[in-house]
Symmetry: C2
Subunit: 263 residues, 2 copies
């Protein structure tokens, strides 16, 4: 991969797999803005979070090169894809990482479970401006027109301005047509939780098994600075995600607590 | 599971699997302080981060009940273990969640990849005071004596004082005997990165495959408020980990950037 011009070098990945329509759409957006290398899991790997493959070796396969864009599949997780792309496939570190467009929301606490966002966080760890993009539509053929229009704006802005250090973006698009979307809101992730409802079944050998199901509960539905509020009110949500998990405010509290315990 | 007394109900889990010596040690510590339910993956699931099992059903198996402590294995990830314990196994929400003791460090950026810490974060999401504990020793039989002494102190303190809201703890113990450990330091995670070095090999069918390997690079080895510094200087490190990934400071920067872009 040689940078033959001044166009940015863009790494595109996802967690729905190399054949997902959302990846194809994101590649098309990226190709307008830079030179693209696409690498994605060889099948869907949703809910993989930031898992990496340690027990098994990884395989990568060059699928095709089309209009300058290279396509690879990888046997690993989204985080593996980013690592192996940077280390084995690309001649230099990409200028931008795009992950998605995910088929399904990654707003609020879903950021924790999301392979899409793990790829973006992994990019951020490598000091690459990184954006995860998701539509709040779980179908195999969502309407991506709003994601394309607003996604391109956010990506262009990121290419020009960069991102604050230690931050990547979690972008979610409401399930609406372009005309219905009211604009972009920078937000924080809403506080909420997936309430589990395991579906217990019995197999033909009379052994129990459980399917993980559940529903999302928003703990602060009226908080206008949250991603959930933005999406419900027809905005694109942009949440800056910290790649450092330390809680600096809590440090002081804990320190004084421990100091008291000693006395 | 009935709470038959005033002892706290403690959920113990890990990512090294139900037969790991670190889990056994942590259960022994927990049994001194409360009533214990232990559930862990049926085999080692390191590097799984916050992955959840969506494609396959989960199986749980009650292995034994010993001195009041119940032992379960689960076919899923550490995060699955926490979810299914709370939803299917325990009569009420536990008062405390302990994850570990992990065989290997989860300091600095390893928090992102760690199944041990994902279980603690999952506990935090359920508003359970949660602590991940790890020794910086990857062997199958580490010296846990320091972890037991200082771990018990940290756990007792957490039972008494609770944790700041939205925070769980990432505790790492240096690879030292009890006498050599100088005490406990509350820290932030050091900035650093795992530098990948994929080991490329060729299988008997002449197809390439890659093993993920690498080494950790500490970007700030002299920063005395970091976990890496604490561990190198013979302290137990305690990092408060935020379960909300939003970067509130970056929100303002992004907002003003987007506002400018519009004008």
């Amino acid at each position: 991969m040689k940078k033959t011009n001044n166009r940015p070098l863009i790494l595109v990945t996802n967690d729905d797999g190399i054949y997902a329509p959302g990846l194809k759409t994101l590649i098309e957006v990226a190709e307008k803005l830079g030179d693209v290398v696409a690498i994605a899991p060889d099948e869907g790997r949703s809910g993989m979070s930031h898992a990496i493959t340690i027990k098994y070796p990884l395989r990568i396969k060059k699928l095709k090169e089309e209009g300058g864009t290279q396509f690879y599949s990888c046997s690993g997780t989204p985080a593996d894809c980013v690592k192996i792309a940077i280390n084995q496939i690309m001649d230099r570190k990409p200028d931008l990482l795009l992950s998605g467009i995910n088929h399904g929301s990654n707003s609020s606490i879903s950021v924790v479970y999301s392979g899409t966002m793990a790829a973006a966080i992994e990019g951020g760890l490598h000091a690459i401006p990184s954006i995860g993009l998701s539509v709040t539509d779980y179908s195999s053929k969502p309407d991506f027109s709003g994601a394309v229009l607003y996604g391109e704006r956010i990506i262009k802005h990121t290419i020009l301005d960069g991102l604050p250090p230690g931050v990547c973006l979690n972008v979610n698009f409401p399930k609406l047509s372009v005309d219905e979307i009211r604009g972009i809101k920078v937000c924080r992730q809403a506080r909420g939780l997936w309430i589990e409802e395991f579906d217990k079944r019995t197999d033909p050998h009379r052994r129990d098994y459980y399917w993980l199901t559940g529903y999302f509960e928003n703990y602060e539905p009226d908080a206008e600075d949250t991603d959930e509020w933005a999406l419900k009110n027809n905005y694109v949500s942009v949440v800056p995600v910290r790649i450092d998990f330390s809680d600096l405010n809590a440090m002081e509290k804990l320190r004084s607590g421990y100091a008291k315990a000693r006395t």
